[in-house]
Each structure stands twice: as structure tokens, then as C-alpha cells.
């Protein structure tokens, strides 16, 4: 196996996640898409850890940190969503624009 297929896979997954994050109107879906992007990044980290001339465990460590932070992010994101939904009765990202200008 070589490095490239993994990087390519990660790139494609990243692109799909990005598409979801930019087009979906439901905040939950957007969050899910972001998780997919994070997963793509994790694939890269682990793949590099594996394929570097001198394999290095730190890639995996970073991936773990990533996962932890992603979990925290999802928790906070969903909490905001619930709070938002309760007050505005919507989970549409287009309604979350009170901070413009």
C-alpha cells in the first residue's frame, strides 16, 4: 500500500463534508458534515504517521486529541442548537444571522 490512496480518500471525504457544511440548511446536518471533515483530517494524520520514513506515533496522538475536541464541539454545538431551537423554533442556519454587520 502507498500513502496516496489514503490521502485521496481523505480529500474526497473532506470535499463531501465541505459540500454538506455549505449547502445543508439544518444545523445538525451541518454539524455532522463538519464531523466528516474532521474524520478526513484524522485519516491524513494517521496515514502520515504510518507512512513517514520513520513511523511516528504522534500522528495517532493528534488524531486522538482531534476526536476529543470534536466530541466537545459536538456537545456544545448541539447545546447551542437546542437553546436556539427553543427560543426561535427553528434549526435553520439561515436564521442564525443576528451577528451580521
Amino acid at each position: 500500500m502507498a500513502l496516496q490512496p489514503f490521502l485521496a480518500l481523505a480529500a474526497i471525504l473532506f470535499g463531501l463534508g465541505l459540500y454538506g457544511a455549505l449547502t445543508k440548511r439544518n444545523l445538525i446536518i451541518v454539524l455532522i458534515s463538519i464531523e466528516m471533515m474532521l474524520n478526513a483530517a484524522n485519516i491524513n494524520l494517521v496515514a502520515f504517521a504510518h507512512f513517514l520514513p520513520k513511523p511516528n506515533i504522534e500522528g495517532q496522538v493528534y488524531a486522538l486529541f482531534n476526536i476529543a475536541i470534536a466530541a466537545a464541539e459536538v456537545a456544545v454545538g448541539l447545546a447551542i442548537l437546542l437553546s436556539f431551537f427553543r427560543t426561535r423554533d427553528t434549526s435553520d442556519v439561515r436564521d442564525m444571522n443576528s451577528m451580521k454587520w
Binding site: 455549505l22 449547502t23 451541518v30 442556519v93 442564525m96 444571522n97 443576528s98 451577528m99 451580521k100 454587520w101
Partner: protein, 636 residues
């Protein structure tokens, strides 16, 4: 006593500082005593200095290092030469008398001590000016006397005319000062020194200046100049300084206005000492003018023109002090004429006698003004009865000014006219002679209008106290007899001023010319008598003269001319430039700011608050960057 010369200027400075810190609590008598003592001691020292110089000749300068200035070191100090010693004597003598006179003239003024402070500061500066050891030091004191003049002219600052006159005096003389300033710099650059002796030594062999000039500047003009033009330009610039200070045409306009100051100030500063500094400067820099015929010729012409020009204005003025002021301008013109034709001794001689009789005339005028509180000639008259001493001394001064033998003015003025005639300047001689005629007319016009006829005012005039009359008497005595120190029979002053052989051009006595000028003076007096003694004929005469009278009365409209061609354009340009600055230069800046602001405002609508839009734009941004990176190659 020669070692004490430095005390002469320092004493008034000390008096100034004492008055500055304690003057407010002192009585008028104490203030006057301190001040008069300061200059009187100086006068005594000056007498001994003159006597030792007469025996010894010029002394070497006494200096200390002041500032390291490029490759040279500027020194400050003093130098006693024959010329300096003479000036020292004249200045201290006149100062002492004016200080004494001011006591009663300024009596009761709430800023009495301030007045004496300024006077002391002035005398310090003036004395420093006359015994200076180098050109830069001369310039420093030159400016200091100017600022003292500014302060004293504006002494009654609450009078708007005085405020304007003070500013005008400073700025007009400043024009001249800048000329001198540049002249000093050019001389320094040419010779590498500020010392008179060094500069003069270079003037004797131009080749030494050639190298200094060659090393200078990337400016094309320096390469076009020969040493001769360099010297001429320097001399002319130095002369510009003298023109400003000595109120020569065309910078004479400040002096008559300066009469807004207290009369003792006019006597001391604007008649006897400071305005003569211009002549002194030319005398001090005499070798420089000798080295450039063109410069000397200019000096002579300006002097001659000023003499007749100012005298013509003096004929018609109504203000007693203004008449005398124009007379001063005119007489200074004589001195410049003397310097210009090379008559060094005659010029200095006239400077000295003029200091005496003009101070006398001003003080006598001051005595009159003090007595009747007006300066308008046509409100005076018949004062002979009330003020006999003032009358007598004024008459002596007037006779001296008119050049009637054997009064002081006759000898010195005649010297100058003879020199002008002998050196071949016939036109200038004619100017001088006509000016002499005018002089006799206007001063006796003043005399007759003031002292003869009947008194027209209401206030009861009376003679001032001893402090007023004593200076008048002393000066009257000097105005009468001072001329005898340099008669053709015994040229004492000439010998004193030329210890190392003749300087400049000293014409032999010419009895014919003497007679002509004496007759001219008498003729002038007769004209004045016939026109003004009765009072009636003057108006008719003025009408008959028509436009000439108007020209003279309005001072040839010079003030109006300057207002129109200098002041108005400068102020207009300033206003215009201010507008440009505010709305065009700064406007461009603000426009730039506004464009940025407007851009920001319009772009803010593109930020719709949708995070997905931002993300989309970022995607395109990144895509573009990546495409560019790909196209440039090597990066990806």
C-alpha cells in the same frame, strides 16, 4: 583701565537683571540711580579707554571659546579699536543723558521699572555691538538691539498704533537682518572665519578665497561666480543689513512709525545709537566695501537718495517727532553717502555729531511733548516764553542740523559734501546739497511753529525739572562745540580714527564748498522763516505746490505701495494656501479615507451573516490560490 572695558556693557546687563528681579519693589529714584550709575561708570571707563587707545592704537581682541563650529571654533569676546572706543564713548554718553532725562519723562508710568529694564538691556546690546570681536557676535548683538527696539517701541502696547509700529519695526529690520545673516554666512564660507582681521586678510588676496569657494556646493550658481562677485554679493548683503537698521531707502518705513514709542527711546535708539549701527557696520566692514567698487557705489547712491528723499518728506509732516525721524533717516543717508564715497572719517564724524544734536532735538521735543501733551506742530507755538532752556537748546540743535557754522553739524556735513564732490559724485553732491537745504527748511519750520508766535494750547506749559534740563544743556553744549574736534585746522578725530595711516578717502578742505553749504543752510532758514514765522503764507504755498505737497505729505505713498505689493499678496497667498491646505491637500487625504470608508460600508452588505456564504467564498478563495499556485508551478 583698558582691562575693564568688558565692564562697560556688563554693567547695564547687571542693572537689567537687578531690575528684572527686584524692580517692582523699588522706588523710581532707586531704579534711576542704579541705571544711571551703570552707564555713567561705563562712560567714565570709556573716557579712559579712548585716551589709552589714542596713545596705543587698536588692542588685540580678548576672547573665549564659545562653540566648536565645524572645522572652526567660534569665539566670543570684545576688542578695543579706535573706532570701537569712539562708539563706546558716544553710546555711553548719550545713554547717560537719556537715562537721566527719562526719570521725569516716564514719571508715574506704572511700568516705570520695566522701561528701565528694557533701556538697560538695549544699552548692553548696543555696547556689545560696538565692541564686538567678530562678525557673528556683531550679528547677535545686532539682533538683540533690534528686539529691544521692538520692546520699547511697543512699550505702550495697549495703544494699537504702538503695537503695529513695534511689529513693523521688527519685521522691516528683519528683512535687512536676513541680508546681513546671509552676508555673514557667505563671508564665513568664503574665508572660513568670523574674525574681522582674518576676513580682511583674505580680501587682500582673493586667491585664498578661490579654493574655499571651489570646495563648495553642488549648486550651479557657485560655479558661475568669481571671487569678485562673491565679495560684491557679500558686501551688498551686509549693506542690506545696514539699510534695514539705519532705515535707508527702501527699508526706511519703520523708523517714522517707531516714534510711537516713548520719546527718550526715540532719542536714544532711533536717533543716536541703534540706527547709527548700520553706519557703524559699514565702517567696521570698511575693507570689504573697499574691495568691491560696485558695493561702495551702491552704498553711496542709496545714501544720497535716502538723504534727499527723507528730507523731502520731512518738509510737510505735522507730527514733531515724525519730522525729526525723517530728519534722522536723511542724516543717516548722509553718513551712508560718506561711507559709499570712501570718506570713512567724515561718516564717523557725522555719526558722532549727529548722535549729539539729534538726541538733543528729540529730548527737546520730548520736553515739549511732556509740557503740552501733544505732538501736532500746529497746536504748538510761542513756547519760547514758557520754556527758555528747551528753546535755547533746540535752537542749538537746529542750527547744528542745518549746518550753520560753527555748530557741530556744519563741520561734519560739510566734510561729507566735500568728499562727494571731490570723488567725482557730482549728482550725489547735488542731492546732498538740496537735502541740506530741505533740512534747514524743515527743522526751522518745526522751530518756528513750536517756539515762535503765540501759544495755541490750553495746558499751561512749563520747563521740566533738573533731570530734564541738564541733559538738554549738556547736549546743547556738545551740539554747539563737538564739531571742533575735527576741523580742517586740527583733524583730531581723523588722526584718532586712522592710527595706521589713512583709511579710505579723506578730502582736503575746500573753502568754496564750505561757503556754499553754509549759504544753503542760511537760505533754508530764511525760507522757513518767511513761510512759517507768520503762519499764513504756509497754506498758500502748500496749495501752490499741489501734487508735490501731497506726495511729500503722504511720504511718497511708500507705505501704501508696500501694503499693496508685499503685504497684501503675502496675506492673500497665505489665505489661498491655507484653503489649498485644508481642502485640497487635506481634502485628498480625507477623500482617500472616505473612499475606504465607503468601500467598507458597501462591502458590508456582502457579509449577510450566513456562515455558509462565508464558507463558500473561502472555498473559492482557496481554489483560486491553489490554481494560481499550480499555474506558477513549483509550489505544488
Amino acid at each position: 583701565m583698558i582691562g575693564l572695558t568688558w565692564l562697560v556693557p556688563v554693567l547695564p546687563l547687571v542693572a537689567y537683571l537687578v531690575l528684572l528681579f527686584t524692580g517692582k519693589r523699588m522706588s523710581e529714584v532707586a531704579i534711576t540711580t542704579i541705571s544711571v550709575l551703570a552707564v555713567l561708570i561705563g562712560f567714565v571707563i570709556s573716557i579712559t579707554v579712548v585716551s589709552s587707545v589714542a596713545g596705543h592704537g587698536p588692542y588685540a581682541p580678548v576672547v573665549y571659546n564659545w562653540l566648536t563650529f565645524g572645522p572652526t571654533t567660534i569665539t566670543m569676546g570684545y576688542q578695543v579699536t579706535n573706532l570701537n572706543a569712539l562708539m563706546l564713548l558716544v553710546v555711553t554718553l548719550v545713554s547717560t543723558l537719556v537715562f537721566l532725562f527719562s526719570k521725569s519723562y516716564m514719571h508715574g508710568d506704572e511700568r516705570f521699572s520695566r522701561f528701565y529694564q528694557y533701556l538697560n538691556l538695549f544699552v548692553f546690546s548696543m555696547l556689545g555691538l560696538v565692541i564686538t570681536s567678530n562678525l557673528l557676535e556683531l550679528y547677535i548683538f545686532w539682533e538683540l538691539v533690534g528686539v529691544c527696539s521692538y520692546l520699547l517701541v511697543g512699550f505702550w502696547y495697549f495703544k494699537p498704533e504702538a503695537a503695529v509700529a513695534a511689529k513693523k519695526a521688527f519685521i522691516v529690520t528683519r528683512v535687512g537682518d536676513v541680508g546681513l545673516f546671509i552676508g555673514v554666512i557667505l563671508l564665513y564660507l568664503g574665508t572660513g572665519s568670523f574674525d574681522f582681521t582674518t576676513i580682511f586678510a583674505h580680501l587682500h588676496h582673493f586667491s585664498s578665497m578661490q579654493s574655499a569657494l571651489g570646495a563648495m556646493g553642488r549648486d550651479a550658481i557657485t560655479h558661475l561666480m568669481t571671487v569678485q562677485t562673491w565679495v560684491t554679493i557679500s558686501a551688498l548683503l551686509v549693506f542690506v543689513g545696514a539699510v534695514g537698521k539705519s532705515a535707508q531707502f527702501p527699508l526706511h518705513v519703520w523708523l517714522p512709525d517707531a516714534m510711537e514709542g516713548p520719546t527718550p527711546v526715540s532719542a536714544l535708539i532711533h536717533a543716536a545709537t541703534m540706527v547709527a549701527a548700520g553706519v557703524y557696520l559699514v565702517a567696521r566692514m570698511f575693507p570689504l566695501f573697499q574691495a568691491s567698487a560696485a558695493a561702495s557705489e551702491t552704498v553711496a547712491i542709496i545714501g544720497g537718495v535716502t538723504a534727499i528723499f527723507a528730507a523731502s518728506i520731512g518738509l510737510t509732516q505735522r507730527d514733531i517727532k515724525r519730522v525729526i525721524a525723517y530728519s534722522t533717516v536723511s542724516q543717516l543717508g548722509y553718513m551712508m553717502l560718506a561711507m559709499g564715497v570712501g570718506a570713512y572719517v567724515s561718516g564717523m564724524f557725522h555719526l558722532m555729531t549727529h548722535a549729539f544734536f539729534k538726541a538733543l532735538l528729540f529730548l527737546a521735543a520730548g520736553s515739549v511733548i511732556h509740557a503740552i501733551d501733544t505732538q501736532d506742530l500746529f497746536e504748538m507755538g510761542g513756547l519760547r516764553k514758557y520754556m527758555p532752556i528747551t528753546h535755547a537748546t533746540f535752537l542749538a540743535g537746529a542750527l547744528a542740523l542745518s549746518g550753520i557754522p560753527p555748530f557741530a553739524g556744519f563741520w561734519s556735513k560739510d566734510d561729507i559734501l566735500t568728499a562727494a564732490f571731490d570723488s567725482g559724485h557730482y549728482v550725489l553732491y547735488a542731492f546732498g546739497l538740496i537735502a541740506a537745504f530741505f533740512t534747514a527748511v524743515y527743522i526751522f519750520r518745526v522751530y518756528f511753529l513750536t517756539f515762535s508766535g503765540t501759544y495755541k494750547g490750553s495746558k499751561h506749559p512749563h520747563e521740566g525739572g533738573i533731570a530734564m534740563t541738564l541733559p538738554l544743556i549738556v547736549l546743547g553744549f556738545l551740539a554747539t562745540f563737538a564739531g571742533f574736534i575735527n576741523t580742517p585746522f586740527a583733524p583730531l578725530l581723523g588722526n584718532f580714527l586712522q592710527p595706521n595711516g589713512p583709511v579710505g578717502y579723506d578730502p582736503p578742505a575746500n573753502w568754496g564748498l564750505m561757503a556754499i553749504s553754509a549759504i544753503t543752510g542760511l537760505l533754508g532758514i530764511w525760507v522757513a522763516y518767511s513761510l512759517y514765522s507768520g503762519g499764513k503764507r504756509a497754506d498758500a504755498f502748500a496749495k501752490r505746490m499741489g501734487i508735490l505737497y501731497q506726495l511729500s505729505f503722504h511720504k511718497w505713498y511708500i507705505d501704501e505701495l508696500y501694503a499693496a505689493i508685499i503685504v497684501l499678496p503675502v496675506v492673500t497667498i497665505a489665505d489661498g494656501l491655507q484653503f489649498v491646505d485644508r481642502y485640497i491637500v487635506d481634502g485628498a487625504v480625507r477623500l482617500l479615507g472616505e473612499v475606504g470608508y465607503a468601500g467598507g460600508v458597501s462591502l458590508k452588505y456582502s457579509a449577510d451573516g450566513q456562515i455558509q456564504t462565508y464558507g463558500l467564498i473561502s472555498v473559492f478563495g482557496i481554489a483560486i490560490v491553489l490554481i494560481v499556485a499550480l499555474l506558477i508551478g513549483g509550489v505544488l
